[in-house]
Symmetry: C2
């Protein structure tokens, strides 16, 4: 199968691209097409909005591409997400889209547009400790829908959605907000102070559209910076408390997060 | 006039309370009632939610209190904002409420509930360089509605609203979201990376309720942490660009921010 890699947020590190291309070549079950746009750099971004959008749209419209794998997160995919799903070419509907973190803006927009998306490892995850396992997990799922790659508590008949909490908070109310109705919602976050996690959980669970979700599970909330004074409750207490306050059933932990263990969450498992 | 001080977010520093009490005593035109709750401390907060809410509600219900002045920001007023406006006592409607930063959650909830709110200096601003001027400005406005305290471009016949951008982003869609229709919306922020300002501006201007505002002005966006690589555009370019992308007229600068120059923005100038 042919997997295109584009970078809708920040620039992909060349050594990450090389390492993942070597893994794919050794496996022999996937042709990796790493778009040159991945290595552009303009300020914070992997090229200007127009360049990032053009590369993404080019790959979406390419009949020979079976899947689009987002290179990495950072920040910036929200700047092109609405345009990315405008006047969708039919080839875009025959693909799978995989990523997480900032790419959640695209997962949302694409899911809303009826495309097949999944939350899971990205190319630059090879740089993490143990990152090779994350890359194989992503490829195992993209190439042969290996169920071992999936978040273990997903249920086949139930819609699931996974997002970085901060990204989710920032897409609510926008034109790329997806439909949470009846879904199991999974959140994770990284490098945010506990007061910011608390504030984002307030915002997300206070939203009537999110309150239509069937339940909420928490992935890992990692690398929390120290706070002075200490916040006074941990991430699980924060997440479960806001779920309780806003009437969303809290369903425990999920095996996703900003790390090499990050499992795959297809939004529509029945379709995959 | 009697001005009650409560701390719905974080603990007030005792030296700030003493300095501002001395200023009020020297002026002789305001009786300052600093609630003991201001000095409570529980984790991140000036006492638990119940204690902060109880002090606020006690002062709101007190007929002898003419104004409630929020002690300081930090984080936490969102945790009690919805409860603060439940079954409002009539005494709450005869008062003015002044604050900014995290207190914006209360400004929003109170404005939505029909109370008279203003964005402006708080007690702990005395600790800033030049902070005495901010305290006098707040008192000049609370005690005698001195027009010199006001943000200079406010128009008497036009509704205005001012918020910390990050706070505004986190209250959209919640039960405390105010009505932006026809208002001049002013935003300011402090200590957020440019990519976070960009993300929050995306979120705020993408919201259909915010898009009903008449225009948007930017206060100071200060103490922006360095970013590597440099973001590539400054705060004004970020704010004006998102206004243009989402059809909100950008109306230039406003004299508000996290500093001693912060002017007062009553949400309903005609009523004050």
């Amino acid at each position: 199968m042919k997997i295109a890699v584009v970078a809708p947020s920040c620039t992909l590190r060349p050594e990450a691209a090389e390492a993942v291309a070597a893994i794919a070549a050794a496996r022999g079950d996937a042709e990796l097409a790493i778009h040159p746009q991945c290595f552009l750099s303009e300020g914070h971004f992997a090229g200007c909005d127009e360049a990032r959008l053009a590369a993404l749209r080019e790959m979406m419209a390419d009949d020979s591409v079976d899947a689009i794998w987002f290179a990495r997160g950072g920040y910036g995919s929200n700047r092109i997400a609405e345009a990315a799903v405008r006047n969708l070419p039919s080839a875009a509907r025959a693909k799978t889209y995989l990523g997480y973190s900032d790419a959640g803006f695209l997962l949302a927009a694409f899911d809303r547009a009826g495309l097949s998306v999944a939350h899971g490892p990205m190319v630059q995850d090879i740089m993490r400790s143990g990152g090779e396992a994350a890359i194989h997990r992503a490829l195992d799922w993209l190439v042969r829908r290996d169920s071992a790659a999936l978040e273990p508590k997903l249920a086949a008949g139930r819609r699931a959605m996974a997002f970085n909490l901060t990204v989710l908070s920032h897409l609510l109310g926008s034109a790329i907000e997806p439909d949470f109705n009846g879904a199991e919602l999974i959140i994770e976050d990284v490098a945010e102070h506990e007061y910011r996690v608390d504030r984002a959980m307030f915002h997300v669970t206070a939203n009537p559209a999110v309150q239509r979700a069937a339940s909420l599970r928490m992935g890992r909330i990692s690398e929390i910076p120290d706070n002075d004074p200490a916040f006074g409750r941990d991430a699980e207490a924060i997440v479960s408390d806001w779920c309780a306050r806003h009437g969303i059933p809290f369903a425990g932990h999920a095996d996703v997060g900003h790390d090499a263990s990050n499992r795959v969450v297809p939004f529509d498992l029945a379709r995959n």
